[in-house]
């Protein structure tokens, strides 16, 4: 590991934030497409702490989605380590990665990715069922989350009967249903209008601020960087800057 990356990783820590959750050290990811090698991430070191809303910013091809995939255990790095507690998730088997995602990670996708044949409540239940064996407790948790995202009245509607914003709120409730420590959001406002996008950002702020969840929000939209407690800029697979914001903007004040 280079001194540069170690420094960048250590720079990411803050005494003000919660405990260290996940630490990437010298992580590289090379994709081989035919005879061409694409270095998507190049020696990235980054530490995620509890209660952070990390906005990963960068243009197309900067490596932000690859970063998200590696943190979420959807992919493995070509080099480097990704530690979650005592576990190097880079070395986990497919099955263990699946369990890691199930127990610790919540995903929110740009296109919501709800299961269209399940109602809003059932979509949330689907995720809750993965970690809960107590049906009563699970039902309570699902109702609580639907209330949290303001959809208790629309719980029995199918995705096709919900607006884009409502679908994304269901997706957030689904991601939260497993009570994960880390929430990974890939362009969560990318397919929403401005007002709805504001609502979603506000919800994510609420989850990190009030519930202490760590949220990594990947976007190419610089305008929404202000909502984060930390802004990580990526370029050509490297961390260009990693800044903390003592006073993040309320989502309602963000404009794009």
């Amino acid at each position: 590991m280079s001194d540069e990356t170690r420094t960048a990783g250590e720079k990411g820590r803050s005494e003000a934030a919660g405990p260290l959750l996940l630490e990437m050290r010298g992580v590289s990811k090379i994709y081989e497409t035919g005879q061409v090698q694409v270095r998507a991430l190049d020696g990235v070191s980054l530490a995620l702490q509890g209660g952070e809303l990390v906005v990963a910013l960068g243009p197309s091809g900067s490596g932000k989605t690859t970063l998200l995939n590696l943190v979420g255990g959807l992919d493995r790095p070509t080099a480097g380590t990704i530690r979650y507690g005592d576990t190097d998730i880079a070395s986990l088997s497919d099955g263990d990665l699946g369990r890691f995602r199930r127990d610790h990670i919540g995903f929110v996708f740009q296109f919501f990715n709800l299961i269209p044949t399940l109602t809003a409540r059932e979509n949330v239940e689907f995720a809750a069922e993965l970690v809960s064996h107590d049906s009563r407790q699970m039902e309570e948790r699902v109702e609580e989350l639907l209330r949290l995202v303001g959809l208790e009245e629309r719980a029995d509607h199918f995705p096709s009967q919900l607006s884009g914003g409502e679908q994304q709120r269901v997706a957030i409730a689904r991601a939260m249903a497993k009570d994960p420590n880390i929430l990974l959001c890939d362009e969560p406002t990318g397919n929403l209008d401005f007002r709805t996008g504001q609502q979603i950002l506000g919800l994510l702020q609420k989850l990190t601020g009030e519930q202490g969840k760590t949220c990594v929000l990947v976007t190419h939209n610089t305008a929404i960087a202000g909502v984060g407690t930390r802004i990580v800029r990526l370029r050509d697979g490297r961390v260009q800057s990693d800044e903390r914001s003592a006073n993040p903007l309320p989502a309602s004040e963000v404009e794009w």
Binding site: G72, G98, E122
Partner: protein
């Protein structure tokens, strides 16, 4: 306009090679069945025709008690008679080893020339030489079965005891392509029956018929005037005791093989039609999915200037490739299979002149049909593709993939109590999600089940009917026939044989039944009124004694149906002694057709010969059968002896062949059901790639996904099995009923174990064909798949 987009067709097909492969397989199956059966049956038909032509197969034959050869000369002079041949035909016994005899039919042929009618084809050795006497030409299939060769000597029973005949060659005959003794002989086997051609003059001498014949075979000039010729010939031969007139189409071998060809031809069209309809649906589903998946690409094509026509042609090209590949593979495989089937068919029947002719028409039809099926199926998706507007098509929208959610009716019904687990709900809703596709899938799997029921029930039914025939109808152990009527002394002698428990008298004679313009040839069996050794199934509460005691005739179901008569109806019966009227006193449900039963007393009233000319025997034990058979053959005047267990063994042997056919049917249906489920599941899984990837991303393990997809495949098969079995039963009952003819009557029967086996076969095929989809789901790149839009 640049047509380079069409190059993408091959690339897209290669990228989805398994799915397109499955579509091509379904088309290939349909085409292969059509081509193989058409080629085989056309070859068989031509082979028959060639044989009939080469041997001058008689247009009709008249059996008489005894007619002088001069009568044959008179027949030759009649109008429309092209050729005529008089001959002696005698049934006798032929010992094939120390304890076993077969029934031998000796047929006279001219030694100084070839027969002008009903000639033979020499397969090995040579034909008779002029003035040759004690020589014989057995049918090749009989000689092969018993290992006889030229130079071997056979012994046959004659009026003067055993006489030797030396084999000079082996032959085949147009009358015995199916070596059946009579129309009632439904299980012909060289184990029990053989046909032997002997110089006619020597045969006359052996049976004391010098200058006499008992059969006149006629070839006519004009087919349209045949009935007039038949009337003239029978009129001319009337004084010599006309017993039976057999038209070519009623001749046992010809009629049976013709029935065979007819049902084969129907099957060769019906089955492929069903399979190709299924193929069309499968192509429609796959192409619709492809068009949806390539929505943005279509938008791009339209955006850069490709016209609607180019888009239509582009997507029709997929169908052309599938049609051409499936059609070509099917036609090639079908042609090869057709040749194989022709060979097997010709071997089984020992058809001497096999016509392995090149047939262009099945190939032309295959190419046209496979292309037409594929094009028709792809037309709607291709048209839909051409109607897309460039801008909306290119815009990625998650709404494209968002299926309309709903709670299916079935879930509402079954979910009234405790809600089923989420995975089960998902499985059920996924099936309701694309109802037409699911309906097609269920329908197509049901069709596979229907085909299995139809295919396998014929074997089960035959097995059941044979069991019924051997256990309930034929209760005798050994049956014997005599040359001439016997008296009670012979009966006492038979009853005294070691191993005989009881003997029942019979009188057998050919007869023709006439009702208005309908007529049919039967074997009239006069039996004891209180017969124990034949079980009648009369229905309606009437006992055998009552039915026979009334002086009427009991008809088998096949005969009653053919003549359209029932109990109480009157009919005319023409026998060797004349025409009488009888009332139908019963209709017996029996497998064998072409039989009529009267009491021995009624036989006497009809004026037929005194005494009996056949016996049914009950033996003391099965081990006594062979001994009794040998003892019977030592009796003077014995014509033939049959052991029921031998017939049953022949049946079992034939069933072994059927089992191979059953295996082929099962394999075919499994491949078809598998290809259908594979196609649907592939489309379903591809369509839901993002959902499945999302589930796995959320942490749902592989077993959950496997369970969900397997449940779906299983549900398809479970939904299909019951209607498939029910409709299959209806179709099979109908088909089996239509197979019934004057020769035999069939009933539908299927074992519970066969139903269970079909259910298992369908479930296994469905589950196995789900494996590629499961494999794909487990191997997908989650990061990419969660972004897939359609």
């Amino acid at each position: 306009m640049n047509r380079k987009i069409h190059l993408l067709v091959i690339r897209d097909i290669m990228a989805r090679r398994f799915q397109f492969g499955a579509l091509a397989i379904i088309i290939a199956l349909g085409i292969a069945i059509f081509v193989s059966m058409t080629v085989a049956f056309t070859n068989a038909e031509r082979s028959y025709d060639r044989t009939y032509e080469a041997t001058h197969f008689a247009d009709f034959s008249v059996e008489v008690a005894q007619a002088p050869e001069s009568a044959v000369d008179e027949v030759r002079e009649l109008a429309n008679v092209k050729a005529v041949e008089g001959r002696v035909v005698m049934d006798t016994g032929l010992p094939v080893d120390e304890n076993r005899l077969v029934q031998a039919r000796l047929i006279g042929l001219p030694a100084d020339r070839r027969a002008a009618v009903n000639d033979v084809i020499v397969e090995s050795g040579r034909y008779f030489e002029v003035d040759e006497r004690a020589v014989v030409l057995p049918l090749g299939k009989f000689a092969d079965f018993h290992g006889y060769e030229s130079g071997d000597t056979l012994q046959v029973y004659t009026l003067e005891g055993l006489k030797p005949l030396t084999i000079v060659g082996t032959v085949s005959s147009p009358e015995y392509l199916l070596m059946a003794e009579s129309k009632q002989d439904l299980l012909p086997s060289p184990r029990r029956f053989g046909v032997f051609f002997v110089p006619n003059a020597y045969l006359q001498e052996l049976f004391g018929m010098q200058g006499q014949v008992n059969e006149v075979n006629v070839l006519v000039e004009s087919e349209s005037e045949r009935e007039d010729t038949i009337a003239a010939v029978t009129g001319l031969l009337e004084p010599y005791g006309v017993q039976q007139t057999v038209r070519q189409e009623d001749q046992p071998s010809k009629a049976t093989t013709e029935l065979d060809l007819e049902s084969g031809r129907e099957f060769a069209v019906l089955l492929p039609t069903l399979v190709l309809v299924i193929a069309a649906f499968a192509i429609y589903i796959a192409m619709s999915r492809l068009v949806r998946a390539q929505r943005t690409l279509i938008g791009l094509f339209r955006g850069v200037g490709y016209g609607k026509g180019s888009i239509v042609v582009h997507y029709l090209l997929f169908a052309v490739v599938v049609g051409v590949v499936g059609g070509s593979v099917g036609a090639a495989a079908g042609y090869g299979l057709g040749y194989l089937l022709t060979g097997l068919y010709a071997d089984a029947l020992a058809i001497p002149l096999i016509a392995h002719e090149f047939q262009l028409m099945p190939i032309v039809i295959s190419v046209i049909v496979s292309l037409a099926v594929a094009l028709v199926a792809a037309a709607a998706p291709a048209w839909a593709a051409s109607r897309m507007l460039p801008a909306p098509a290119m815009r990625p929208s998650p709404e494209v993939a968002l299926a309309k959610g709903s709670v299916p009716f079935v879930e509402r019904i079954f979910g009234l109590g405790r809600r089923p687990p989420l995975l089960v709900r998902l499985g059920v809703r996924n099936i309701w999600r694309a109802p037409m596709r699911s309906l097609y899938t269920v329908g197509a799997i049901a069709l596979a089940a229907i085909l299995l029921v139809v295919g396998l029930s014929s074997f089960d039914s035959m097995d059941f009917i044979m069991d019924r025939q051997f256990e309930k109808t034929d209760r005798w152990d050994v049956a014997a026939a005599f040359w001439s009527p016997q008296d009670d002394q012979t009966l006492a002698e038979i009853n005294g044989l070691t191993g005989v428990r009881e003997a029942e008298r019979l009188y057998l004679t050919p007869a023709e039944l006439r009702v208005d313009s309908k007529r049919t040839n039967i074997e009239l069996m006069a039996v004891e009124e209180d017969t124990r050794l034949h079980g009648f199934d009369l229905g309606g509460g009437k006992t055998t004694g009552e039915a026979l005691g009334e002086g009427g005739i009991i008809l088998t179901l096949g005969v009653a149906d053919q003549l359209d008569v029932g109990v109480g109806d009157s009919l005319d019966i023409a026998t060797e002694v004349g025409i009488s009227s009888l009332v139908v006193s019963g209709v017996s449900r029996e497998f064998t057709g072409g039989l009529g039963y009267v009491s021995l007393a009624t036989k006497d009233e009809l004026g037929l010969g005194d005494g009996f000319n056949a016996v049914w025997l009950e033996t003391t034990s099965p081990s006594a059968d062979a001994e009794v058979q040998a003892a019977l053959y030592r009796l003077p005047g014995i014509q033939g002896v049959q052991v029921k267990e031998d017939i049953r063994d022949d049946w079992r042997e034939q069933m072994a062949l059927f089992n191979v056919m059953a295996g082929v049917i099962v394999a075919f249906c499994m491949v078809m059901a598998g290809a259908i489920v594979f196609n649907t599941m592939t489309v379903n899984v591809l369509e839901r790639e993002r959902e499945t990837a999302t589930m796995r991303t959320l942490g749902a393990g592989r077993p959950s996904v496997v369970l969900m997809l397997a449940t779906e495949g299983l549900t398809f098969s479970l939904l299909a099995i019951l209607p498939g079995l029910a409709l299959g039963t209806i179709a099979a009952s109908y088909l089996i009923h239509t197979w019934s003819s004057e020769f035999f009557t069939m009933w539908f029967h299927m074992r519970t174990t066969t139903y269970a086996m079909i259910a298992v076969v369908i479930i296994v095929a469905a589950l196995v064909s789900t494996i590629p989809s499961i494999w794909h789901s487990n191997r997908m790149n989650l990061a990419e798949a969660t972004k897939v839009l359609a």
